[in-house]
Symmetry: C2
Amino acid sequence: MIDLCTLGTGGTIPMPDRALSSLYVRVKGRSLLIDCGEGTQVGVQRLGWGMQCIDGILLTHFHADHCSGLPGMLLALTKAQRQETLHIYGPAGLTRVVEGLRVIAPQLSFPVALHELEGGEAFECIGLQVTAFPLQHGMPCLGYRLHLPHPAAFEPEKARALGIPVQHWKTLQKGTPVTLEGVTYLPEQVLGAPRRGLTVLYATDTRPVEAIPEHGFRCDMMFLEGMYGPEEKLPLAIKNHHMLFREAAALARDADAARLVLTHYSTSIEEPEEFLPLAQAIFPDTACAQDGMTWTLHYDRD
Amino acid sequence: MIDLCTLGTGGTIPMPDRALSSLYVRVKGRSLLIDCGEGTQVGVQRLGWGMQCIDGILLTHFHADHCSGLPGMLLALTKAQRQETLHIYGPAGLTRVVEGLRVIAPQLSFPVALHELEGGEAFECIGLQVTAFPLQHGMPCLGYRLHLPHPAAFEPEKARALGIPVQHWKTLQKGTPVTLEGVTYLPEQVLGAPRRGLTVLYATDTRPVEAIPEHGFRCDMMFLEGMYGPEEKLPLAIKNHHMLFREAAALARDADAARLVLTHYSTSIEEPEEFLPLAQAIFPDTACAQDGMTWTLHYDRD
């Protein structure tokens, strides 16, 4: 199960009812943020899913609207007396940017581990298998694929048939072989068929790139930018390295995604729903995110 | 006339309905901010008095809650295509802090002039005579006195009696002497008695210091911190270099101020009005600021 919340859905400049874009992701009580613009810590408070449990911050890039909330967040975590290491991921320049911003947050109650990525790396965060991949935004910018594996089910009848005592079942269930009286039992002998996990793709601040449908292939949820709606904004989208609603929808269609959520709206978009039909004409399962909107993704019932 | 708005009234950590403390000050269509924490630019938008007209930002000190909104504000001004120089004032370390924060706001549409102050300096900003003075916060921290002079009234009957032609009245009215046929007329010959201007004092993040009632002597409005309410918080106030409501009230009383407004509340204060009687017992004309509250100060009608 993955819980998701678009804490903010604005691009460039925050608005009174639209904070800068940030996604809160929760798995089994631990959380990560994708981006941390101004207003993120208030969004976290308002959501009420916890601040102390945030173990990772994945930054897409270093435009201020995506990381200006970082020093405030670090101080809020210090105020909450966090002790555990906080992991911050981001593209080339991460160290310089975090050091710059920490001029106003020099003393923290916890260690910060910085992970500078090129795109292509895979790592683990809050139990999610994260893959970073490069986007096209006129500066280093990353998209993130989050994958939650679904372990195969333990089948007691198989274990019983093999004569494995009950006290060894948990070990096998967790994927570790067990040797009893010279015989080694492998987990796959007592587990069912592999099960589909859950996959979320997040990519904002980019022109359409092949890597998005590739990494988002058959994902359960795709978060893409809805920077501009109407067709006449295309030259601006190209100039500013952004996308139209319909371009995002085409990527979700190409990925065969289960559903698409648009976020990161230009301040020129007053009511995102106005342009939603432009996306739905290409990919029907498209929705427009609003600040504080939440989703829960469940494993298939198989 | 001076217009004032407490954009945010929170200390340390922003809350959903309490942004970090920032004061918006407007005089004749130009504005300055005192402090610029996270959320300030949204407060400016919500207020609707203008962002482009902000010519100066006066920082009290460099705890993140007072300056974390700066990079976002610089970008918002750039987005609005500001051309004029923005003046930023603050205590020792200003250059280092602004350079650090500008790691995410490197390219601006306007020049930034940095003014590093020790306390004791007087300068002009948006027509206000500003005096900076040191506070006691365990790090360099400044209070600000803002004074709007009230020019003496021009008295036409005096000018007429001296036989000064009407076309020279404006020059004298503006304070410049006029020489006609070898005779020099001084402004004071045609002006009325000096008039009382308007004075606002702003001091947060400090233990009580003598400089506050000195600089705020008979001021029209005093903004002081209401960090802690109840008496049992005194040891914490001393440790964290802050004040109780009653300590702020005593400073306003000592200054013989016209009125006191409390702001910059600890997150431990849910409802500031609960502790207001503690201040009013010492200084009756005390009010608790809320986010977005506005005041207009008028010259005496004399």
